[in-house]
């Protein structure tokens, strides 16, 4: 007897559903049996071998949905150590999982493991297997003293991303490794022969590949792993972060581009979250908890930027690939976000990596764009992104025809670009530079000789920012970030007759912003977390205009005022310092007192604000957390409001108080529920007024702006979220809110705000059924916006038009808004790149949603102004 061989007979008999006992109904069908792809030879019990005993052990093996054995039961015990040996071996089996009703599912199989003794004459010396245990790194296996005979790297199909943490095994030798950070693995001293290499990772399809190793041969290989569901797009897995806020809703990169109805626009996805009212006509307004869009700050790496959307309701200027995540703080936000009293949206930029050349490109009906990132050296990497629209090519099809004999040329063009460069200083930190810019131009040339008029209209909006960033460790868990930024925003308009020497009217607004942020944050000790810093903001706004100026007239209606040149400027300097201190009072209770101090020098006048805040979080148990907050928030007036001529240099800071109470429930890693009651009281708001004040010399002055606005909102929000997994993500958000306002001039009593919507619901779901498909849907429903009824009209003989007689202000609403959007994408995966074809259909049911009403000339008849009809968008995107 040369050696003993253990014969296995895997008799898959009567696979049973693993949920024991099986549910009586409904019937579930095993559509694919589990297949054994890695078996491990059991140890023959030495005593039984010596005694020449054989055995057949019947076992029941429980296999989970990933193919891993979770339990083994011996059905008929045979003794002599055979039962234990069989169980020990079977526990190491790896299966291609079974499918039930077409989906991977847990299952149990019954089989028998035969222990027999065979006598075999040695033909040749068998290969000597290397030792199974090594003392080398985890991505090395075999005898470390022997040379490497098989090495390789594991990469993701479609993106060529190196995959760390993948188990690679040679089943015949019982060797396995875990790939390193760079996706590599090494086997030492593999004897010549044919083997099966298996690569396993829960997020990827199992990969099995045969290899043959000849004598003294060294093999290098690359294993291409296919993401489950066939989608190659990167999934971000976030670690636990220190929580210094009460309510933050985070969107990860994959969620930024695949939500139906958002045109793949990362910022628009925010509009599906609780606390955000629906913006009419699909505009990109952020209407947070009843506040004005201007009251919510958008912060890019901590620096506030103005509106980030292209004109005419176009997409946002940010390429999703440049973003790491987007956080929405609907209320009670941390003190590091200042100078706003509505909400805060924080865009975290994505550092580049030196992990090869990667990129993506997208083409659809409206624009085309791309993104590339590449390493320059081991520590230096760059990324570029750009997009250009071509709506000018087809806008002519949707605009009204010019009159016979007339000529019209309309050229709307928008583009944006972004560059990022990162240098990894290793233990000295990381330094980065981000540049982003956008341009929107519109030119309309209209000539109608018959009507004796011509128009040459040009307008442009440009945005530019440079943001520097240096981050390093301060020791322990503390981090320091220094970030300067400079930006210029310009808006220009000119109107002239065709071929005129110069404009008849024009306007140019140039806004230069310089800001600087210093932030130190992290855990200071076991009980204390700190986020503190200083931020400076310097803004100089310059206005140049050639316009009819009638601000000095008492009644300018119908007067033909000659344009005159106007030069104005406004400067604002803001210095703020803040601290959010997280105190773990007990293991369950965390209190976060915060304080923000702001000083301003606006048009030579100083103003200041002190905003204390307190957040509390109480962890009831592993799943439940109760949270609450109260805090003060302040916001300086807009530059135009403090202009000495057209504004009021005496207007002061706007204030708000936020209250909130809520809870979070996280029953599993994938599911969470977040709910909150809130109340926000905004006061001293700067509102326009046509009032005048009499001067001592008998003349008058317009007040223009006063701090007399009030805007209160209260409500309840809930969000049920299913986090991203390899196959699906989604959320259901619901907001109940009441927002009303008053000011001295327009409303002497509280009336609903213009965008008040009592009920807002968004349901978003995305699912990958496999074969590279991803399907998604979004359902929106919201109460109609407030509207003032028109109850009659009288004829104004001075103007020749009718004057509406209006009922109580905003006492009725437009009908409830309902819309379903859908998105289907098919991705073809190739080793080095992937191609996706998608169709995004807005309003698939073609529901006629009323956004407003328009009336006939004497207000007798009205007709609805409706939002999007059904609007499909077809696009292609490639990633490599």
């Amino acid at each position: 007897m040369r050696f003993c061989v253990v014969m296995l007979a895997l008799l898959v008999a009567t696979p049973a559903l693993a949920d024991d006992p099986p549910a009586p109904a409904p019937a579930r069908t095993v559509t694919k049996s589990p297949a054994l792809i890695q078996a491990v030879a059991p140890e023959y019990p030495p005593a039984a071998l010596a005694a020449g005993k054989t055995a057949k052990v019947k076992v029941k093996i429980y296999i989970d949905a990933t193919g891993v054995v979770t339990k083994v039961d011996v059905l008929e015990k045979v003794g002599d150590g055979f039962d234990e040996a069989a169980v020990a071996a079977a526990m190491q089996y790896v299966f291609d999982p079974a499918e039930i009703d077409g989906k991977p599912a847990a299952i149990a199989v019954e089989t028998a493991i035969n222990f027999v003794i065979e006598t075999k004459q040695p033909d040749e010396p068998p290969p000597r297997a290397p030792p199974k245990t090594t003392t080398g790194p985890p991505n090395h296996a075999g005898g470390m003293e022997q040379p490497i005979t098989l090495q390789g790297e594991v990469v993701e199909r479609g993106t060529r991303r190196k995959l760390a943490g993948v188990i690679v095994s040679i089943s015949e030798l019982g060797l396995d490794v875990v790939t390193g950070e760079d996706g590599t693995f090494y086997f030492h001293g593999i004897p010549p022969g044919g083997y099966t290499v298996l690569a396993v990772d829960p997020k990827y399809d199992r990969l099995k590949r045969g290899i043959a190793i000849a004598k003294r041969e060294k093999i290098e290989t690359r294993l291409w792993m296919r993401p489950r569901g066939g989608n190659p797009y990167e999934t971000v897995v976030e670690g636990e972060r220190e929580v210094l806020e009460v309510t933050k809703r985070t969107l990860q990169r994959q969620q930024l581009t695949s939500v139906p109805g958002t045109f793949g626009d990362p910022i628009r996805v925010i509009q599906t979250l609780p606390g955000i009212q629906r913006a009419p006509f699909g505009l990109g307004l952020l209407l947070v908890r009843g506040s004005n869009p201007d009251d919510t700050g958008i912060f890019v790496d901590g620096h506030e930027v103005p509106s980030v959307f292209h004109f005419l309701g176009g997409p946002s200027i940010f390429n999703a690939e440049m973003l790491e995540s987007i956080d929405l703080y609907p209320g009670g936000f941390p003190a590091r976000f200042g100078r706003k009293h509505g909400g805060a949206v924080a865009l975290e930029l994505r550092p580049t990596k030196s992990d090869g050349i990667h990129g993506s490109a997208k083409v659809d009906f409206i624009d085309a764009g791309g993104y590339v990132r590449a390493p320059i050296t081991k520590h230096l990497s760059v990324a570029f992104a750009g997009r250009r629209s071509y709506i000018d090519a087809f806008l002519g099809f949707v605009l009204p025809e010019p009159a016979p004999g007339a000529q019209r040329i309309v050229t709307p063009i928008y583009y944006d670009y972004a560059t990022r460069i990162d240098y990894n200083l290793e233990e000295d930190g990381r330094v980065g530079l981000f540049v982003i810019g956008s341009s929107d131009t519109l030119r309309v040339l209209d000539q109608d000789p018959d009507a004796e008029v011509s128009t040459d209209l040009s307008s442009s909006v440009k945005f530019f920012r440079v943001i520097g960033n240096y981050t390093r460790s301060l020791g322990g868990d503390m981090q320091l970030t220094l970030s300067p930024a400079w930006g210029r925003d310009t808006l220009s308009f000119s109107g002239a007759q065709a071929e005129a020497a110069g404009p008849f009217t024009s306007l140019a607004i140039v806004n230069n912003t310089l800001s600087y942020r210093l932030r130190a944050h992290g855990r200071m000790d076991k009980r204390l977390t700190l986020d503190t810093g200083i931020d400076l903001l310097s803004r100089a706004t310059r206005y140049e205009a050639l316009v009819p100026i009638d601000d000095n007239l008492i009644n300018s209606s119908g007067i033909d005022v000659d344009p005159s040149k106007l030069f104005r400027g406004a400067t604002t300097l803001g210095v703020g310092t803040y601290a959010d201190v997280g105190i773990d009072v007990t293991t369950k209770l965390k209190l976060i007192p915060s304080l923000r101090l702001d000083m301003y020098l606006i048009e030579g006048q100083d103003r200041g604000s002190i905003d204390p805040r307190l957040v509390g979080r109480y962890k009831v148990d592993k799943e439940w957390t109760i949270k609450g907050y109260v805090g003060e928030f302040s916001q300086p007036p807009q530059p135009e409001a403090v202009d000495t001529r057209f504004g009021n240099p005496n207007v002061g800071i706007e204030h708000a108080t936020h209250f909130g109470l809520g809870w979070e429930w996280k029953p599993s890693r994938l599911w969470s529920l977040d709910s909150e009651f809130y109340y926000a009281r905004r006061r001293d708001l700067v509102v326009f007024t046509s009032d005048v004040e009499a001067n001592d010399d008998g003349t008058f002055s317009y007040l223009n702006f006063v701090n007399e606005g009030r805007r209160d909102s209260m409500g309840f929000e809930i969000m049920i979220k299913r986090e991203i997994s390899e196959r699906m993500f989604g959320w259901l958000s619901y907001t109940y809110s009441k927002a009303h306002q008053k000011n001295r001039e327009r409303f002497d009593r509280f009336v609903p705000t213009a965008f008040d919507q009592s009920h807002v619901m968004n349901a978003v779901a995305s699912y990958k059924p496999g074969k590279g498909f991803e399907i998604g849907a979004r359902f929106q429903m919201s109460t109609g916006r407030p509207d003032t009824p028109i109850i009659g009209a009288t004829y104004d003989a001075d103007s020749g038009g009718y004057q509406a007689i209006r009922g109580p202000t905003r006492s009725q609403r437009t009908p409830t808004f309902r819309q379903i959007d859908a998105r289907v994408e098919k991705v073809w995966l190739y080793n080095t790149w992937s191609l996706g074809l998608y169709i995004d259909v807005i309003n698939v049911t073609n529901t006629k949603n009323v956004e407003a009403f328009e009336y006939d000339y004497r207000f007798k008849e009205k007709a609805p102004v409706t939002s999007f009809p059904i609007l499909p968008t077809l696009g292609l995107r490639g990633t490599w």
Binding site: G314, G495, F504, A797
Partner: protein, 335 residues
């Protein structure tokens, strides 16, 4: 009933959101409608010496003059008399301001304004009396500019068919203004005027004929109105009286004044057909184009006519200082 399809791009042009509604054209008069109101003295200027303290009511009344307010009303659907009334008051959107003082100026009936010969007049005179003074002082009391920009009061007209439910009446209003002579260059306005309208019909090859003076007057008053064939266009151009574009001074909030020149507007109305533009004239646009004065009338289609048809046209000339003058003409469309 004729209708006009109005399509306006929505605020989000890129999303192709549009509002399309089928409404009646405001240029076509299809039922009882007030078209214009005009006062013989649209605004008046009084001298105030502020160094002598608040002006005495008697001083104000001495300087004010009567102003006769007349209205142009069309009622093309019915042959009937019209009931009307005029009220002096402070104007609001609904007519007279609720709770404010008001004085009934006149009420009565007129014969059918479209066919009665001679043309009936719907007029009333605002006398400078204690009633007017009471209303003026009430308005002055609430005026933040203390009357510097003028005191606006108005006449509100209520008109309906004889025997019709008054709830269906048309309400119209016209403002009258009392200006202080501050600064001293402030002058009273006179109603705008025209020499004539020039008509230039289009030929079949879309060329305009040489213009000629358009015969004026109501259809019932004209023997040989301008004749067009169905769908034929005619360009009608107002020829303004020299000097009708008055130069005037407007007070500013710093007690000074700014000088401007009037830019009259023209409102074009008819009972059938269509206009290229329902409103012409006025200030320059933002490109600096002087506003064209003309409009082109297109005769109705043959299938909309029952033989030769006389179509009344009205053109209302207004300036920005409450002045208004109306003109009536007629076009005969012969299929």
């Amino acid at each position: 009933m004729r209708a006009l399809l109005i399509c306006r791009p929505g605020p989000a042009l890129i999303t192709f959101v549009a509002a399309c509604a089928s409404f009646e054209s405001p240029d076509i008069v299809i039922d009882t409608r007030v078209l214009a109101m005009s006062a013989t003295v649209p605004d008046q200027v009084i001298d105030i010496d502020l160094s002598m303290g608040q002006p005495q009511p008697a001083d104000l009344l001495d300087q004010m003059v009567p102003s006769t307010m007349c209205a142009l009303v069309a009622d093309p659907t019915f042959d009937r008399r019209l009931r009307f009334s005029m009220t002096l008051c402070q104007r609001c959107d609904e007519g007279c301001c609720e709770g404010g003082a008001r004085v009934a100026l006149t009420e009565g009936f007129i014969e059918d304004p479209d066919i009665a010969i001679p043309a009936p007049e719907m007029c009333a005179t605002v006398e400078p009396d204690g009633n007017l003074l009471g209303i003026v002082l009430q308005i002055l009391e609430a005026d933040t500019f203390m009357g510097l920009g003028g005191i606006d009061y108005g006449v509100v007209l209520q008109v309906g068919g004889e025997g019709e439910d008054p709830a269906l009446d048309q309400i119209a209003g016209k403002t009258l203004r009392l200006n202080p002579r501050i600064p001293a260059e402030v002058t009273a306005n006179a109603n705008p005027s025209l020499d004539r309208f020039d008509a230039a019909p289009y030929t079949e090859d879309s060329r305009t004929m040489d213009p000629f003076p358009l015969p004026m007057g109501r259809c019932v008053d004209q023997i040989a109105p301008l004749e067009l064939v169905p769908t034929q266009r005619v360009r009608i151009t107002p020829v303004e009286t020299e000097g009708t574009r008055e130069t005037y001074v407007v007070p500013t909030i710093d007690g000074e004044g700014q000088t401007f020149t009037e830019s009259p507007t023209y409102q074009w109305l008819a009972v059938a057909g269509s206009y290229s533009s329902g409103s012409t004239g006025g200030p320059r646009d933002f490109s600096g184009n002087p506003a064209p004065l003309f409009s082109e009338f297109r005769a109705p289609r043959a299938e909309d006519l029952d033989g030769p048809t006389d179509i009344p046209l009205w053109i209302i000339q207004r300036d920005e200082r409450l002045g208004a003058t109306w003109y009536e003409t007629c076009i005969r469309v012969v299929p």
